[in-house]
């Protein structure tokens, strides 16, 4: 079965991002496909490569990036949410004249249409939030 996941909260503050990750791993281990994880609202902060969590704690961004690399999960950050929260890739840097880039490997910025498309194409769309 093909799953899509919506994540509405940032890393560490709420358990939503942890729950979504554990669900995605279990879905893949169960033989399902996780086609896309769409990060909306503060959820886009999951994609920041500037985090340095304590060494004895989980590294939420790296966990997601590894999932994308190993299982081909499409990690999409909502562009409008990124603009409000300061998540920048090359295109956004040039467009909005910013000095830095902070979107981690495996994540890409795109529009809300990617969420709707995921809802249409996946067999199940599942939301994790606050």
């Amino acid at each position: 079965m093909k799953f899509a996941i919506l994540v509405n909260e940032g890393p560490y503050q709420h358990q939503a991002s942890d729950s979504a990750y554990q669900f995605a791993v279990a879905a893949i281990e169960s033989g399902h496909e996780v086609a896309r994880v769409f990060f909306y609202h503060d959820g886009v902060n999951n994609g920041s490569n500037l985090t340095t969590p304590p060494q004895d704690d989980r590294h939420i961004q790296k966990r997601w990036s590894a999932l994308a690399a190993e299982s081909g999960v499409d990690l999409v950050l909502c562009v409008a949410a990124c603009q409000r929260r300061g998540m920048v890739d090359e295109g956004e840097r040039d467009r909005n004249k910013k000095d830095a880039i902070n979107v981690a490997d495996g994540f890409r910025i795109s529009g809300l249409g990617q969420l709707i498309e995921a809802g249409i194409e996946a067999d199940r769309l599942l939301t994790f939030g606050d």
Binding site: M1, F3, N8, Q15, A16, S19, Q22, F23, V25, A26, A27, E29, S30, H32, D123, R124, L125, L126, T127, F128, G129, D130
Partner: protein
């Protein structure tokens, strides 16, 4: 055409569990995750409404979240089935849609 309802907040903090229960059909299922798992622990005001809700729908609790908060499966209200994350995945696959009561 049944719905998997997911609640993630303690009913002592937020009203989402109460609000969910009044809007479910027989054949739906309820899964408690994150802080909501405390509702599945017996000895609270939620024993009765959840036991009643269990007459019409299946009740599940995510056991990792229960263990995280220091509770054992044996302390659950009658009618709850503990599931791990793979069980959670299976529930999503078995039901026609998922409604997260955020």
């Amino acid at each position: 055409m049944s719905t998997l309802n997911i609640v993630n907040k303690s009913p002592f903090e937020k009203r989402s569990l109460d609000q969910c229960i009044t809007r479910t059909s027989s054949g739906d299922a309820l899964l408690l995750i994150e802080d909501a798992v405390v509702a599945a622990v017996s000895g609270t005001a939620y024993d009765a409404p959840l036991t009643e809700a269990g007459q019409n729908m299946k009740l599940y609790v995510l056991e990792g979240d229960l263990a995280a908060r220091g509770f054992a499966d044996s302390e659950m209200v009658n009618g709850f089935t503990p599931v791990d994350y793979k069980g959670f995945v299976a529930l999503v696959a078995e039901h026609d849609r998922v409604h997260s009561w955020l």
